[in-house]
């Protein structure tokens, strides 16, 4: 167990619910803290009779949502200015074309909801970055709140419940959750790449078919005369028929 986690657990044991709310809020705002493990431990402590499970859930959920909103607002206030600067052509920002920034904004507006929702409970390590990104990309706030609250309900409930169920073995559960979330992420990336690969193959096939059709069109004369009547080539070879 890391020293940081040990310190956080001591803080949790000594100061109770307040310590939980503060540490969860800070982590959700973007500071990299092992908050899933703290929630697992809190669930285990509640199974051992030290905390009330329902109260833990309410506090953890509210802290997560507040922290996420803080991250979003920071991104919206300062991050969007940075992106605006990148969009303007200039001496220092010539490496990222303004069109790319605009395209990323459009893409995030279309697909960002899923990224926000999934990063609340499956890829929680990315949560802080996604909040800043959502703010920077000016993702619509009502949609952000909707995806965030629904995701965080699961994000708070899953570790607390697992901790409550497995009690003193919560550390081993935490060791499973890390590689499991990476495995799910890997699967998603594989599915995405396979989809892309199929699309490129189809595009390539279509392009090749079009090329063959074009070459047939070039070979046939515009008047529609048959191939057998074509004159001898300059090389002197006669046609087969």
């Amino acid at each position: 167990m890391s020293g940081l986690l040990q310190t956080m657990l001591t803080f949790l044991q000594n100061y109770g619910y307040l310590a939980l709310w503060i540490s969860v809020f800070i982590a959700a705002a973007g500071v990299p803290l092992p908050i899933s493990l703290v929630l697992l431990a809190a669930g285990a402590f509640s199974a051992l009779g030290e905390f009330n499970f329902v109260l833990l859930f309410i506090l953890a959920f509210s802290a997560l949502v507040c922290g996420d909103n803080a991250g979003y607002l920071i991104g919206r206030h300062w991050g969007s200015r940075g992106l605006d600067w990148l969009e303007r052509p200039g001496k220092w920002n010539r490496f990222i074309p303004p069109r790319t920034v605009e395209r990323s904004r459009t893409y995030f507006r279309q697909q960002g909801g899923w990224a926000i929702f999934l990063s609340r409970f499956i890829f929680s390590a990315l949560g802080g970055v996604i909040n800043l990104l959502a703010g920077s990309e000016l993702y619509p706030y009502p949609y952000f709140v909707l995806a965030d609250t629904s995701g965080e309900a699961l994000g708070a409930l899953i570790p607390l419940l697992l901790g409550y169920i497995f009690g003193a073995s919560w550390e081993a559960v935490g060791d499973v959750l890390g590689p499991l979330s990476l495995f799910i992420l890997g699967l998603l990336v594989v599915v995405l790449l396979v989809t892309r690969l199929v699309r490129y193959m189809q595009r390539l096939k279509r392009a090749q078919t079009a090329k063959v059709d074009q070459s047939i069109d070039v070979q046939s004369s515009p008047a529609g005369t048959p191939m057998v009547d074509t004159p001898a080539r300059p090389s002197g070879n006669l046609p087969l028929l």
């Binding site: 040990q6 001591t10 000594n14 009690g167 060791d175 890390g178 590689p179 594989v190 690969l197």
Partner: protein, 140 residues
């Protein structure tokens, strides 16, 4: 030009797919191993094995998990005022009493083992006092 571009994209995507597949398989193996470790540890914890005592546990937690009275543990560790350390983890207890963490965990493990022995001998002696019916008949 667009044909070449699509072909390049296809090759790059193929390479990325291979890398992603490799990473996913690696993560799958890690997950399976972690699940196995979890099952072993959970089995040890539920059976009450004292090796699973951890630095994050408080005396209260240990008494709940290993079924030993809290007062017995406080007495064993020579803690005069249990109320003041009720929420202290073994880690913070070790720091407070200037002891090594491993030494403190070892002491707690001994306390649990001793309590179980005392309790078991008490149980077995009470069981022996009753004795099997055939023996009792012979004694009389």
């Amino acid at each position: 030009m667009p044909l070449l571009s699509t072909r390049t994209k296809l090759v790059v995507t193929g390479i990325l797919l291979c890398v992603a597949l490799g990473a996913t398989i690696f993560c799958a193996v890690q997950t399976v191993q972690a699940i196995q470790r979890f099952r072993e540890e959970h089995a040890l914890t539920t059976s009450g094995d004292v090796r699973t005592i951890r630095p994050w546990m408080t005396i209260h937690d240990i008494s709940r998990v290993y079924h030993v009275p809290e007062n017995y543990l406080y007495k064993w560790l020579d803690i005069a005022n249990p109320q003041s350390v009720r929420h202290a983890t073994l880690n913070s207890l070790a720091a407070r009493y200037h002891r090594s963490l491993d030494g403190l965990i070892g002491d707690v493990q001994n306390a649990v083992r001793t309590y179980r022995k005392e309790h078991q001998s008490y149980l077995s002696s009470s069981r022996n006092a009753q004795g099997p019916p055939s023996l009792r008949r012979r004694e009389t």
